[in-house]
């Protein structure tokens, strides 16, 4: 699994767009980038996954530059309910992915 680095915490305000960047300098060719969200006292929840360029779903967008050494999770128009810890995971999710490791994540706090 590629080592990832992301900010420990971020603050923003309701209605703003929030971008959380994750560095993964030693990403391998077969690795995918996956983001999770975790609310207090709940299990992590899958948000989005991508390999290159841009992926968008109803929750977020994921931007991946050509060198894939970083990725940015973009949350449009956040609300108080987006306050959570966000985890960036990078790995080859094929049959060998038996050990899926979470890092320390980014604690996002949204203020009114």
């Amino acid at each position: 699994l590629a080592k990832t680095t992301q900010p420990i915490s971020m603050d923003s305000y309701e209605g703003q767009e929030v971008n959380i960047t994750c560095s993964h300098n030693n990403i391998a060719t077969n690795d995918y980038i996956t983001w999770y969200q975790q609310f207090p006292s709940q299990g992590p929840r899958f948000i989005i996954q991508g390999y290159k360029t841009k992926v968008t779903n109803e929750v977020a967008s994921l931007f991946i530059p050509a060198d894939r050494k970083s990725s940015t999770l973009s949350l449009p128009r956040v609300s108080l309910s987006d306050t959570a810890v966000y985890y960036c995971l990078v790995g080859d999710w094929g049959s060998s992915a038996s050990k899926i490791i979470f890092g320390s994540g980014t604690r996002l706090s949204i203020r009114p």
Partner: protein, 114 residues
């Protein structure tokens, strides 16, 4: 929407007692995981399970821990002799499709060891 269910939601036990935490993964999933999260800390990998055997385990998963899938639907984590430091939230997760990092997590079982 299919979901992973865990029981009990909260268990209080005395140090040295055995605890079994139960999970029902999503029915067509093949890969199963246990994680734990000590209050205020990160989600820690314990063990993964596939084809009725352990695929990988962490250094946390010592001889006091065991997992099994006794009946094709339940997936259990047993702690033989609990310690104070086993107090944590334990999450079960399952994964159905290869080539995706999408794990489906249960709501967790909070274990308190006194």
């Amino acid at each position: 929407e299919p979901e992973v269910t865990q029981t009990p939601s909260h268990q209080v036990t005395q140090m040295g007692q055995e605890v079994i935490l139960r999970c029902v993964p999503i029915s067509n999933h093949l890969y199963f995981y246990w994680y734990r999260q000590i209050l205020g800390q990160k989600v820690e990998f314990l063990v993964s399970f596939y084809n009725n055997e352990i695929s990988e385990k962490s250094e946390i998963f010592d001889d006091q821990f065991s997992v099994e899938r006794p009946d094709g639907s339940n997936f259990t984590l047993k702690i033989r002799s609990t310690k104070l430091e086993d107090s944590a939230m334990y999450f079960c997760a399952s994964r159905g499709v290869l080539n995706t990092g999408e794990l489906f997590f249960g709501e967790g079982s909070r274990l308190t060891v006194l």
